[in-house]
Symmetry: C2
Subunit: 370 residues, 2 copies
């Protein structure tokens, strides 16, 4: 009864002909690295009092290198994504990446809302650190503005402060336990639109499942897609896409096999229950196809036939965008994670065009194919 699947390996030659936008790459800042960029009054809370981000996940990631690919950890003990040169070698050069969208790690939106002024200052330091330590060093790197979503007006000010940087392409919101479609958060979307930015939602270690934190990591990690479904539903039914019709939203690090179910279920519920949300003018599936994109990692092994069925079920080949999640343990290689034999047109959309079309500030691809 077991479905036989094998790791399908596309030839590097074929992949290298394709432009690649990697929509999920984690550069990593330990709090100490941000101290030079932090307003002086806040520095002592890291240097003297040892602030660390709160983390409610009761498990470790028990792969060989913990959260990271073992080979991405640095000899001095620093975690993967801490060093530009290593990231350049292992990712940008290795796979001939056109653009890598940096998605960070230390994001206040995925932390407890407490101590908001410190978190807001920390996110400003993070953005300046990201620009100076990463964006300024390689034109292939594109940035995500980190904000404290729990303070939407402060978040909007931070978006306005750094949003004009030519290679800041999105605002990233790590998911904790709040549905971000609520009107309370709309100043963030308004600021994103004002600055020509997309929004990226990213999983975090503080995001629960429908039944909280189960006994085992494997349970939690299997159910990661739930908070993405919840955010899509929250954004749609609270009218965010009706209010901000220019906005594009990326769902990052939740995989994509849940999308057909999400479209089918939300369309059915809309047909039956839409009187409650008269501001939503279209089927959720139509809103998803126009406004949402889903980063592919972590991919699940499947045959080409099933992958194409899955795309077909969504009634759009523009929803999925390739991502590696470098440097994490379940990194997806551009050459190995998706089935071999994807038709060229779809391959091009998956690896670059879909992302390019949903990031207003995306620079031109090197070979000019899209």
């Amino acid at each position: 009864m077991t479905q036989v699947t094998t790791a399908t390996v596309a030839q590097p030659d074929a992949a290298q002909k394709t432009n690649i936008i990697d929509t999920d790459v984690h550069e990593r800042a330990e709090p100490h690295a941000l101290v030079p960029y932090l307003e002086p009054m806040w520095r002592k809370y890291i240097t003297d009092f040892g602030w660390q981000p709160d983390r409610v996940l009761p498990y470790t990631q028990y792969a060989a290198g913990g959260l990271d690919r073992l080979d991405a950890k640095l000899p001095d003990g620093r975690p993967g994504g801490s060093d530009y040169e290593v990231l350049r070698k292992q990712l940008l050069d290795e796979y001939d990446i056109d653009y890598a969208i940096l998605t960070g790690w230390l994001d206040a939106s995925g932390l407890h809302p407490g101590w908001p002024e410190f978190k807001t200052a920390l996110m400003s330091a993070y953005n300046d650190w990201q620009i100076h330590e990463w964006l300024d060093r390689d034109e292939r790197l594109l940035g995500s503005i980190h904000v404290n979503a729990h303070e939407p007006h402060s978040a909007a000010r931070e978006i306005d402060r750094v949003g004009a940087h030519p290679r800041m392409v999105q605002v990233i919101l790590y998911i904790k336990d709040k549905p971000f479609g609520e009107p309370y958060y709309h100043p963030i979307y308004e600021a994103a639109v004002r600055n020509n930015l997309s929004i990226g939602f990213h999983h975090s270690e503080n995001a629960p499942t429908a039944l909280g934190f189960h006994r085992y990591f494997i349970e939690w990690h299997t159910l990661v897609s739930q908070v993405f479904m919840s955010q899509v539903v929250s954004l749609i039914f609270n009218g965010v896409l009706d209010k901000y019709p220019e906005l594009h939203i990326f769902m990052i690090e939740g995989g994509f096999t849940y999308v057909p179910h999400l479209i089918s279920r939300s369309d059915q519920q809309y047909r039956q229950l839409r009187s409650e949300v008269p501001w939503v003018k279209r089927l959720p599936g139509d809103i998803i196809r126009e406004h949402f994109r889903f980063a592919t990692q972590p991919t699940e092994e499947m045959s080409l036939e099933r992958f194409l069925q899955l795309v077909d079920w969504c009634d759009s080949d523009e929803l999925f965008c390739f991502s590696t999640d470098y440097p994490h343990w379940d990194f997806d290689s551009p050459w190995e994670s998706l089935p071999q034999g994807i038709p060229n047109d779809l391959q091009r959309k998956l690896f670059s065009e879909n992302a390019k079309n949903a990031y207003p500030k995306m620079p031109a691809l090197r070979t000019g194919t899209a």
Copy 2:
């Protein structure tokens, strides 16, 4: 871009040739109806002090008849499912149902754990009421043993008390906010196996989503599948099916379009992370195919081609079991809810054989085809 779907109507003639086991039919007891069956010491809490089940859902169901089909509500104001004669006429006779599995409404497992002795007594009263008012009146009605899952040893005693009734076929557990695979709950599964019963998990109004109770009912109702995914994952990775290899488990009122994603995702995670749960000996998909069944309601409109793809994706045509959810507002008619043109063999499995094969105590079907 919108997928064009139409309500597909199978001809009554074709459907009537098929045996039908309806795996989700709600008989309804208001607390007052249970008083005659309740141990005397507890009666005053209903008659004098007005106990009502706790309910945390902040919305109403805003269909024409509220929770119920408008035509299933009784002239005297009682809710749908309160009267046997109406249920017989509107469901059993109307659709020539072979067997209807009663799944109740007032289930302590979906309530707050507080006041456990009262809840345990109430569930005993419920079961006696169910036997006397329903099972004794029509051989087509099969019962679900109601228990207070929060007190597993008391629940097991109740299962032993009424489990020998020839038409009690399952233990039903309404879902609140606990993952029921935890060892704490295993006495319930042991008692079910001991009594030749299956387990049914049923949604409840107290079941949350990954991000709690969103602003609108349509959001909550769209995300109902999450707690079912969570329970399947909890049961599998906590080894319930390795420990009780005879057990069959029904997931009721969560639909079925989430199942391909659930299988694909959990298989992938098992391949990568199974060292954490060495007691789980097989791919989750294999465990699902052997042990789990999914009641079809609420169905989502889809073409026959997509329905068959979805079945194919599960690598089994034995997972889905037809259900109406009578008398609720989103009732699925046997003649109208699934696509027209399903091949006969699959149609037979969906409408009767799959359920029959997963309920050890299921009586013979009338026409002897399965």
